[in-house]
C-alpha cells in the first residue's frame, strides 16, 4: 500500500533528533510491549509480515504523531482481536471473559531464550529458479498494490543492476495476507542515485534495495 510508512525520499520531516546516552526503552511499558509482541508471536497465529502490515494500517496522521512503541501497541491490540486472542470487551475490562481458557502452554522462559538465540529464519531451502543473475540490468516493476509490499515507491519503474543474489526467501507481499510464502530469490539491486533522484544526486552514489523476483523485470 502507498502508505505513510513508505517514506523513502519524502521531504519535510525535520532534522534528525539524537539523544545522548539513550536508554533501550524510555519507559517500562515500551519494554513490555516489545516483550508481549514477541511472546504472542510464538503462538504462530501471524508472521513478521502480518505484523509489519498491521503497523502500516495505522492512519497516517496517527502514524506520524505516535512514537514507535505507541504504533506497535496500537497495531498489536488490533492484531490480537483479529486473530481471536482477545475481544475488545476483554481489553476494556482487563479480565478474561468467563470460559475463555487456553489449553496449550504459553512460551516459557527457556523457549524464549531459544527464540532469541535462533531467531525466525525466513530463508527457504527449496529449489526455485532465479530469474536474474549478478550484473544483470533490471527494472523494478511499476505496481501499486493495496496490500503489503516491500517494494518501496521510490524504486518503482526505475532501472537498476543486480548486485548479488541472497538466495530464496519468503515473499512478504503474499505472506502478510496469509496467502502463502511463495518462496523466491531476493537480490540486492543497485540503483544509481541519479536514476532515482535526478541530477541533484551525486553521480557516484547509489542506493541498494533488496527486492524479490516478483518485483523485477528484465531491462
Amino acid at each position: 500500500m502507498n502508505g505513510i510508512h513508505d517514506m523513502g525520499g519524502m521531504h519535510g520531516m525535520g532534522p534528525i533528533e539524537r539523544e545522548r546516552s539513550e536508554p533501550v526503552f524510555h519507559h517500562p511499558w515500551e519494554g513490555r510491549v516489545f516483550g508481549l509482541r514477541r511472546a504472542m508471536g510464538a503462538w504462530r497465529k501471524w508472521n513478521i509480515d502480518v505484523t509489519r502490515h498491521e503497523v502500516e494500517l495505522v492512519p497516517p496522521v496517527d502514524y506520524l504523531r505516535m512514537s514507535y512503541y505507541e504504533r506497535q501497541f496500537a497495531a498489536f491490540l488490533v492484531l490480537l482481536q483479529k486473530r481471536g486472542f482477545v475481544t475488545s470487551a476483554e481489553i476494556e475490562a482487563g479480565i478474561p471473559a468467563s470460559g475463555s481458557a487456553v489449553s496449550a502452554p504459553a512460551l516459557t522462559r527457556e523457549k524464549a531464550a531459544q527464540l532469541v538465540a535462533k531467531g525466525v529464519p525466513t530463508s527457504r531451502d527449496v529449489p526455485v529458479y532465479a530469474n536474474f543473475r549478478a550484473g544483470q540490468r533490471v527494472r523494478a516493476i511499476n505496481a501499486n498494490p493495496l496490500g503489503h509490499t516491500r517494494e518501496p515507491r521510490y524504486v518503482r519503474g526505475k532501472l537498476g543492476t543486480i548486485d548479488r543474489d541472497h538466495g530464496v526467501f519468503v515473499f512478504p507481499d503474499t505472506n502478510a495476507h496469509f496467502l502463502g510464502e511463495k518462496p523466491q530469490h531476493v537480490y540486492s539491486v543497485r540503483f544509481a542515485a541519479r536514476e532515482l533522484w535526478g541530477n541533484q544526486a551525486a553521480p557516484q552514489d547509489s542506493v541498494y534495495v533488496d527486492l524479490w523476483d516478483d518485483h523485477l523485470e528484465p531491462a
Partner: protein, 237 residues
Amino acid sequence: MTTSRGDVLTAALTAAGAAVAPDLARAQEHEDDHDHGHQAVPSDPALRVKALESLLVAKGLVDRDALDELIDTYEHKVGPRNGVRVVARAWTDADYKRRLLTDADAAISELGYGGMQGEHMVVVENTATVHNVVVCTLCSCYPWPVLGLPPVWYKSAPYRSRSVIDPRGVLREFGLDLGDDVEVRVWDSTAELRYLVLPERPANTETLTEQELAALVTRDAMVGVAKVTAKREESTA
C-alpha cells in the same frame, strides 16, 4: 525524546499546511468515539499496557517469566558491544575479515552472536573511497544481535525519509562531510537481510591491541553515520 517526537510532528504538520488541521480534529473526534483499534493513541500507555499484560497472563497466553527474559535480554545483554567485537576482530585478523565479508552469518556466530533479527547478515566495508550507510525506509529493520535495538533517531521519519534521497546531507547532520572522491552506498533494509557496516580502521592505530581498537568503535560507525576516530570522543554505544 518526547521533545524530538513533538518536533517531528510539528515539522510534519507545518510542512503539510493548515489543511491538515481539520483532519486532525476529525481524527481526534474519531478516537473519542471508539475504544479500540488503530485510531487511539493510548491516553496512558503505561496503564493500558499493564492491563493488556494482565489480561494475556490471566488467559494463559503469556508467561511472565518468558516476558521478563525477552525484555531483559534486549535491555541488558544484547547491544553494540557485540558488534564492536566483530569489528575489532576483523581489523586485527585478515582471515576473519574475509570470512565476515563473504559469509557474515558464520563469522558473526564464531563470536557467539546471532538469532532474532540477525538471521541473515551482510557486512559491508567502508574504505577511503566507499562509504556505506544503512537505513530501513519502510519500518525499522536493524541487526539486533550485533547492535541491539535501534535508537529512536534510526526509527524516526527524518532519518528514514532522507537517508535515501540525501545521504550526504544526513551524514553532515551527523558531523560527517564526505568529499566528491567518496562513493556513498545506501543500503535500504527492505528484506530480511540485516546490514552491519565494517568501519574503516583509523590511521595510526597499528600498535593498538584488539581490545584497544574495540574501545574506539561506536554504534553509529557500525550503522554508517559516523567514522571511527583514533580518539573516541563520546560514548554513543
